[in-house]
């Protein structure tokens, strides 16, 4: 407390310095408190209150939690979300690793830049635009994908309109959007590995596979973990692609947690229920991120 008084009313040069530093961060701190911290606390409070039509809210304890967490539509959404991310996260990370290692091995710098730019391109499109383009490619009657299949005499598929194919189809869109982003992170990491390591491996007579297994992958470990976590978070929050194409259909087969949250809050205006889901999303992602910290803390041995 004494510190703060001295910062607020500086007498010495050092105190004036401290005040200056604090003033520099003040706008950011104020903004983040108003836009994130206060609403987050309100979300938590809101999840324990029921708002009666007319505006008054009433404390109901954990009743909303019991209601939402025993609701089968909520668990369907959770299951769908997890199913989606189990398909898209490993695919994206593995493909990105392969592409990054391939790009890194290209001798011609110019071609490396050209191909890298192409892989990176979907990152610049909005998720809505990406999903809508893919919806056109997936079109059951006039879509390009079914045209390709017809060339090898496979009957047309219904893709986004089929119960079984809708989730893999949406997962593919996520992979397409995120592949370049992850590739860039891996490529930058690969380029920062000193060439001497590989020279040493060559002198020791390591084969290509051994170099990959014992040198490249261990050195990329921090980036791989980071990208996995980023992808998990990104895919857990999946909304735009689903909203733009299937709106959760057919028959809730692509309903996701954030879709449900959006509908609950802004279609049915059940803010209490939506707050419970908001807290659920926050707690889940917090757990994931903390796990990431635990893993990151382990020193990587070279």
């Amino acid at each position: 407390m004494r510190h703060w008084v001295r910062v607020a009313f500086p007498k010495t040069y050092m105190d004036r310095q401290r005040r200056a530093g604090f003033l520099f961060i003040l706008p950011a701190v104020t903004y983040f408190s108003l836009v994130f911290i206060v609403p987050l606390i309100q979300s938590v409070i809101g999840s324990f209150h029921r708002t009666v039509p007319g505006g008054t809210s009433q404390f109901v304890g954990t009743r909303l939690y019991e209601k939402v967490l025993t609701d089968s539509t909520f668990w369907t959404a959770v299951r769908n979300t997890i199913h989606l991310l189990l398909m898209s996260v490993p695919t994206t990370v593995v493909l990105a690793l392969v592409v990054a290692i391939g790009l890194h091995r290209l001798v011609s710098l110019r071609w490396r830049n050209v191909w890298a730019a192409m892989y990176f391109l979907p990152f610049s499109a909005s998720l809505v635009a990406a999903a809508l383009i893919w919806q056109w490619i997936y079109d059951p009657v006039y879509g390009f994908l079914n045209y390709l299949l017809s060339l090898v005499r496979i009957p047309p598929q219904k893709w986004l309109q089929s119960l079984a194919q809708v989730r893999p189809s949406i997962a593919l869109v996520s992979v397409w959007v995120r592949l370049g982003f992850d590739t860039m992170i891996f490529l930058a990491a690969l380029q920062s590995i000193p060439g001497e390591y590989y020279e040493a491996a060559d002198i020791d007579g390591a084969s290509g596979c051994q170099r990959l297994r014992y040198l490249t992958l261990p050195l990329l470990n921090p980036q791989i973990i980071m990208v996995c976590i980023l992808e998990l978070i990104f895919n857990f929050k999946i909304f735009d692609q689903v909203y733009a194409t299937t709106q959760g259909g057919p028959a809730s087969a692509s309903q996701t947690v954030i879709m449900l949250l959006y509908d609950t809050a802004f279609k049915y205006f059940r803010m209490g229920d939506a707050s419970v889901m908001a807290v659920f999303v926050f707690v889940t992602l917090l757990t994931v991120t903390l796990l990431q910290w635990r893993i990151f803390r382990k020193p990587v041995e070279y």
Partner: protein, 271 residues
């Protein structure tokens, strides 16, 4: 040697596959409605210069207005983010004051708060303040990003203190040091932040969907949705609209790609 060629070939195939949806979008936007429903499918449009769909997009929807809205919001959010982030970055990087690190970690911690977890109270606030359906309402959560603060702090931290001390000895005020000494040295980081923040806000969908009601306040991502409906979609128009919505950002992206990659690599932070 053969392996090397194989790698290059596979990479090229992959890159072309990744690029294909863009190509398909552009080609479809040049076709007429009967053309896209032709069986068997023809890849090339009948007339490469058929811009009728683009005219129709602007005719049916105030798409120019959407572009303007998106551009305005993305620019304001990029600039405001730049100002606040560089101030905070300087404060965090070069000053000592009580609880500095606690504040910094609190801000980094916000990265763990998904936006969807705060959207309901935020909506209620915006509603109460009467900002629904206004630029201010759309901008409210986009004015500063944690990524920006982090980026600017990292960039400023590595600058030598001697410059700052020299300026202080010359009697320069703290703000003037920031403005005249620090900022000119971190121009690359500033460019990165401006571009990335512009792109993010331009592509934003969830929050505008929540706060925007009237057609005149729509941004391009929302505007795109007006060309879809569950029963029948005119894909020739939709793809034309998609091209219009992507093109500005694509130009920015391709000309300034170096900076975007820098930003992505720098952080990988935005979850």
């Amino acid at each position: 040697m053969r392996l090397r060629w194989l790698t290059a070939l596979l990479l090229a195939c992959g890159a072309l596959t990744v690029f294909f949806p863009f190509f398909w979008m552009a080609v479809t936007s040049l076709k007429t409605a009967p053309e896209i429903q032709r069986v068997p499918l023809r890849i090339a449009p009948d007339h490469w210069m058929n811009l009728g769909n683009y005219r129709e997009v602007f005719h049916r929807e105030p798409f120019g207005r959407y572009l303007f809205n998106s551009g305005l919001i993305a620019s304001v959010s990029a600039v405001s983010s730049l100002i606040v982030s560089s101030l905070a970055g300087y404060g965090f990087a070069k000053f000592r004051f009580p609880a500095r690190d606690a504040f910094f970690f609190a801000i980094i911690g916000i990265l763990m708060v998904p936006f969807q977890s705060v959207v309901v109270p935020l909506y209620l606030w915006v509603n109460r303040l009467g900002f629904l359906d206004t630029y201010l309402g759309i901008l409210a959560p986009d004015l500063v990003s944690v990524f920006g603060v982090f980026l600017m702090r990292q960039a400023i931290e590595v600058l030598p203190n001697d410059y700052i001390d020299a300026a202080r000895i010359d009697g320069c005020s703290e703000f003037r040091i920031f403005y005249r000494v620090i900022l000119p040295m971190v121009k690359p980081a500033m460019a990165t932040l401006l571009i990335i923040k512009f792109m993010w806000t331009w592509n934003e969908f969830f929050w505008p969907l929540v706060v925007v009601n009237s057609p005149s306040m729509r941004v391009v991502t929302i505007g795109l949705m007006s060309f879809t409906n569950i029963y029948f979609i005119e894909y020739n128009l939709l793809t034309a609209a998609a091209v219009i919505s992507i093109l500005p950002i694509l130009v920015v992206f391709l000309t300034l790609q170096k900076w975007v990659v820098r930003g992505v690599v720098m952080s990988g932070l935005k979850g």
